[in-house]
Point group: C5
Amino acid sequence: MRDYNSELSKKTGMPPGTLIHVGDKRVEEPKLTLVEYNGDNLEVHVSQDIDIIKDLEFAEDRKIWINVDGLHQTELIESLGKLFGVHPIVLEDILNTNQRPKTESYEDYIYVTIRTLFYERLENTVNSDQISIILGNNFILSFQEMETDLFKKIRQRMERPAGIIRKRGVDYLTYSLIDSIVDNYYLLLEDIGEEIERLEDELINEPSPATLQNIHELKREMIILRRSLWPLRETIASLQRDESGLIKESTDIYLRDLYDHSIQVIETVETYREMLSGMLDLYLSTVSNRMNEVMKVLTIIATIFIPLTFIAGIYGMNFEYMPELKWEWGYPAVMIFMATMAVIMLYYFKKKTWL
Amino acid sequence: MRDYNSELSKKTGMPPGTLIHVGDKRVEEPKLTLVEYNGDNLEVHVSQDIDIIKDLEFAEDRKIWINVDGLHQTELIESLGKLFGVHPIVLEDILNTNQRPKTESYEDYIYVTIRTLFYERLENTVNSDQISIILGNNFILSFQEMETDLFKKIRQRMERPAGIIRKRGVDYLTYSLIDSIVDNYYLLLEDIGEEIERLEDELINEPSPATLQNIHELKREMIILRRSLWPLRETIASLQRDESGLIKESTDIYLRDLYDHSIQVIETVETYREMLSGMLDLYLSTVSNRMNEVMKVLTIIATIFIPLTFIAGIYGMNFEYMPELKWEWGYPAVMIFMATMAVIMLYYFKKKTWL
Amino acid sequence: MRDYNSELSKKTGMPPGTLIHVGDKRVEEPKLTLVEYNGDNLEVHVSQDIDIIKDLEFAEDRKIWINVDGLHQTELIESLGKLFGVHPIVLEDILNTNQRPKTESYEDYIYVTIRTLFYERLENTVNSDQISIILGNNFILSFQEMETDLFKKIRQRMERPAGIIRKRGVDYLTYSLIDSIVDNYYLLLEDIGEEIERLEDELINEPSPATLQNIHELKREMIILRRSLWPLRETIASLQRDESGLIKESTDIYLRDLYDHSIQVIETVETYREMLSGMLDLYLSTVSNRMNEVMKVLTIIATIFIPLTFIAGIYGMNFEYMPELKWEWGYPAVMIFMATMAVIMLYYFKKKTWL
Amino acid sequence: MRDYNSELSKKTGMPPGTLIHVGDKRVEEPKLTLVEYNGDNLEVHVSQDIDIIKDLEFAEDRKIWINVDGLHQTELIESLGKLFGVHPIVLEDILNTNQRPKTESYEDYIYVTIRTLFYERLENTVNSDQISIILGNNFILSFQEMETDLFKKIRQRMERPAGIIRKRGVDYLTYSLIDSIVDNYYLLLEDIGEEIERLEDELINEPSPATLQNIHELKREMIILRRSLWPLRETIASLQRDESGLIKESTDIYLRDLYDHSIQVIETVETYREMLSGMLDLYLSTVSNRMNEVMKVLTIIATIFIPLTFIAGIYGMNFEYMPELKWEWGYPAVMIFMATMAVIMLYYFKKKTWL
Amino acid sequence: MRDYNSELSKKTGMPPGTLIHVGDKRVEEPKLTLVEYNGDNLEVHVSQDIDIIKDLEFAEDRKIWINVDGLHQTELIESLGKLFGVHPIVLEDILNTNQRPKTESYEDYIYVTIRTLFYERLENTVNSDQISIILGNNFILSFQEMETDLFKKIRQRMERPAGIIRKRGVDYLTYSLIDSIVDNYYLLLEDIGEEIERLEDELINEPSPATLQNIHELKREMIILRRSLWPLRETIASLQRDESGLIKESTDIYLRDLYDHSIQVIETVETYREMLSGMLDLYLSTVSNRMNEVMKVLTIIATIFIPLTFIAGIYGMNFEYMPELKWEWGYPAVMIFMATMAVIMLYYFKKKTWL
């Protein structure tokens, strides 16, 4: 997530409403998927061309879902926007892939933007893509930076005629799309949770500077993740409060459930962040502890042997008149004296619980 | 509480309303307890089969409490749900045992979910079970992951005909169930409080890396516990504010009391967390302090004996022309000089309050 | 304050409304003090028996204040409660001496609970008693865990016929009681403030592990104190907002004053807590500083004498062919060389500002 | 600011409304300044006696400002209060010089209390005086603990007949008084800001324990200052919201400006506090850094010379059968060996970037 | 940003409404740029004199934008203010270049003040200029401390007749001006983000006291930046809520977009601040880690060689009766004994994972 803001400046100085793709080009060619469905039928068309949409006939009993994978062909987005009457500033937001999650109500449609998140364990980073959804009267437009499995699964569920998703309106489909994204966060959090456990074990059993590095990186990702997820709560609450009539009452109960999930996700990130902070503090204490142990070993050795070496040094002096050197028992006497000193020292350290 | 999120991903990609038990299977067979009661009578039926409920006749003057222990037989839950008209998304929440505590009002019933907590001192962890309660017009459904003592005690109190619990409606019974759960938190907090006191004593008297480890683990549990308990306040406040008429005015005063308890519980967890943070800081200061003591001992020994050893080393040199070596009083003079140096050093350390 | 929660579990599993004294028995026998007063008269009766109250005649022009010292005789409390129509759940709160400060409005009376605080400097702990006050139409009931000076002083003020307290209603008396408790907090805070100053001086002049211990203990007490005092603000605000008519408009101005005091008390505790946190940080820096000083002394000594000792060691070797040993000026040359080295070292340390 | 709470307890146990001066006696004799003014005239009377006020005639077209310097003559305050119909509890607040800043609306007047602040750089402390202002229909009473320049300057501005202050009502004068106090905070903050810069430079260039001490003291003052200034915002907002009509609409725009200033002052204190916290953290890291440097020097010296000294020690042993001692080239061989070892060690330290 | 408050005191003691330029003189001569425009025409006049404005004719179908670069000629600002009916206190705010961002609604115009920010990487500081905008019925006045590129670009965009900016009212121009300032923040944040990345790399690969210094400085700038940007959100929200009719409904959608940007900017600053805090903590742990490594090297060397040196010292003693010295195999025996001791020590360190 290092480059989170790195392209924001690309647009500086441009008049608002200028359509420029801010973000990486993730796919070669944008792909358009048109799904027309109602309780009885389901038709799927895939194309790289906008022409298949131009001949589209709107009908009361047909719901339309158009999904775009790949955002760098701005003309495609612009044409789509004109066709469905989307305000240029919304199109600008769709193309600028650094949006905070948000819900905006317009006269004829609701614009929701949200992020999918991917945790890359090897690099300890969380990457994210922007998903934009426009919910109209009888249609949904969805925009992804690249094709993901998330929406494909929804499409597979739609193929079953008995599915609730076919019977209900496009508001329920919108809910399903957002729900699949939020559900995916749990996978992410589970992965991160496992990494935290692994790091905690490592911290206790064999801490190394790399452990410190990993904890720090993961905590930094949590700070950035929190920034990305914090607005999620308000995004879904805004959908719930929507008064345009585009969201039917029967969908409310599902949005409430989604709201609970979003809070749970945010709280988990917050908890992880606090746990990682605690682990960083623990690391510092542990290092201090081990330094203390090292110091004790050094001190014990030095405190025992430095005085003894001094005594040996005295009897190594070459003075002519040193009566002790002539004594027959001088050598054993000094040896016994030194041994006694060492024992007293060891007893002293024992009492100080350094041993 | 390590695996708090570990099964959340099981449901990813499923359509909403899919009934899957998310959590561990805690009992072999689910157990159904049916309690029919009013001021005069009390009948208890226990079964593993839903049939005993199918013949149930609803009567104005009879209140019904159905308790389910064990959630892994989803068909049982589904049948119960259909019988009492519970929305599938509520049943999904009952089976997904990772809910945050919450109160949700529906047209005909109120859904409350809350967690029971158990502190396992040996492992310094707090485990939790999810309890779900559905309060209807004249009935209560309660769902536990496994049988606990909490609800059994309520049932025993109900057997006394004079008890207030028999005379009042199912809203009072709901209160009693939640109250018994919240009361149980006090036991948990008391256990944790004792552990904190024990750790504080240990920290002051004989701190070891294990003490640090324990404080850290307990603090981590407090972070997770806070996340579990924080929504409790809102859960009970929502019950108080309920306008469906299912909660009678006479129960309000009890819910207010419960609300006070919930705040007290949350504040205690917060206080514990802050106290444990303080203890971690204290540990670091204590380790630094002790390292300082170790350093002082080393420095005193080294500072006294290293110069003395040097002097002894000088007179151990084998130069032919060293006049001092020939002096008769050379040896005692050097000894006195060295003793004087040592005394000066000790005086210097005394003045620096290192001794 | 260590045992703050230690008896909370005593009530677990009891039906609500069960009257059990949760707390220590602080007095041998409970004492009942009945004060009947109006502008003209004041009668005081003291008894250990409830009988003196049973014959009590209520009269429009007489105000009644009943104070109970000692809470362990639950029957006494129960009889009193029945006589004045107090709800059992309120009586339960009176007996459970671990309440948070709060104001609860009932139909005929207002229930206020608040804590008196005592700082025991020797043990660095803050102890607290629970005071409960029931303000009715023309009467006050007050409950203390043991007799204190606080209420006695109020009674003495009431004996002066000219006193405002005699002329005004029981709402003013309620204010006076709470005011005397809050005023007492200032004494507590002043004591703690002096202790903080003393510790700060100690920290700067002669820090010891005991200083650290004391700061930590005081900070812990501040955390617990904050928990006790935080609800005080809301308690008094609730009294101010009361709409039952039991609090007359003329008392409002006094409650506003009390409210200001309560905020001042809370802010002072918060300030103390932050100051103590700052002192803990300072302690750690100070210890590191002093360790740095110790290390410098060790390093200077070792860096000067270890190389010199090595040189002395070289000329102490017993090789047969060491020409220097034979030189006439060998010894003084080596001595001058060593002195030069020492001077260079000292200059280096000087430049590094270690000296 | 050490004695901030030290006299609060003086009033404990007194009935409310008792007029006692809580604070230091800062002037010998209280001084009364009476200013009568309107657009055309300005009369100033100074006296130590209240008599000059007693003959005061109120007139629609004359505005009156009475300023009192020195609060220890309670009778003077009391007489003034009675004359202008001020509630005893307000007089009590005026005399109790430990108030938080606040605005209180009464029927006929508004009571504002606010603090002037003085930074004493030598002691690193912030002292404060309490200013009380009573704004009535056509009069202002102001009370200071001692005479300051602030109000004198306002009086000088009033002497210019063209000044807006003469034309407008007493509400504008009130604004002017408060504005002059808040403006003075900027001076204080500028002084503290300069001290912070000085300390930061000292921290980077030549940190000493005294630097640590100063940063700590300044941070403590910021904690206390924040407590004093935090209520300022609400104080001025209350004035803005006032609905008594004493504050005219034309003054609103000035109060809004004052409100902005008060927020700016509070934010600056908060910023200073955070900057000082950052500096304390930096100090700890810097000390650790320098200890690390010291340790490296010690380790390099010890690691090079201890093994060499050992080798010299070996050839200083007096065994009769040590063949090396007899070799002609033994001595130079050992010297070369030792030099090689030293070079290898130095290379190793170079590689570890310790040199 | 060091001198942020340094001139605030210049105005102390002045009556409100006194026009004094508080800030540095950034340009030699103030420059006036008058832009008259509508959908069809655009006229630009540049002058240092106010006369060109005096002959200005207001017409319904012409919009006027007057930009002033350089604020130290107070008479110019005053004349402009009088001409357009701006309240003196607003002019005072325009000249006092230390304002917090804010929006103030007056009867006939809206006053917005906001800051441009420039990051100077070499000094690790963020400098800022104050921009004031007055939006009237058909005119805009804008005031800058010095000429910047930001507004010049807007003027260039206005020269294109097809541009939306020409067709819409002055409210849209106001939005465009603020938008160009906020867009510029992204450039600033990107620069700071890159510096943070660079510092993080440096921290991991080759931390030095200068790294610490840089992180600290950048964090301090973030604290100050947060103070400057925090009110931005409210500033734009106030514009959105404006009810004067000066802001047309069609501009609302653009302001909403601007509001999102402002939140994103604030959150990024907050995230940076937290990341820098994390890096400071990491630095401390890293230093401790490295000190630990240094200590281990010292301890290993000392623990191996000090006892060996002691043994060598023993056989260097000059006692006459030391039988070992006479043994033929004494020397090799001692050497083998010492080697064995060294090996045992090394094995012990290996087991302790110090090697």
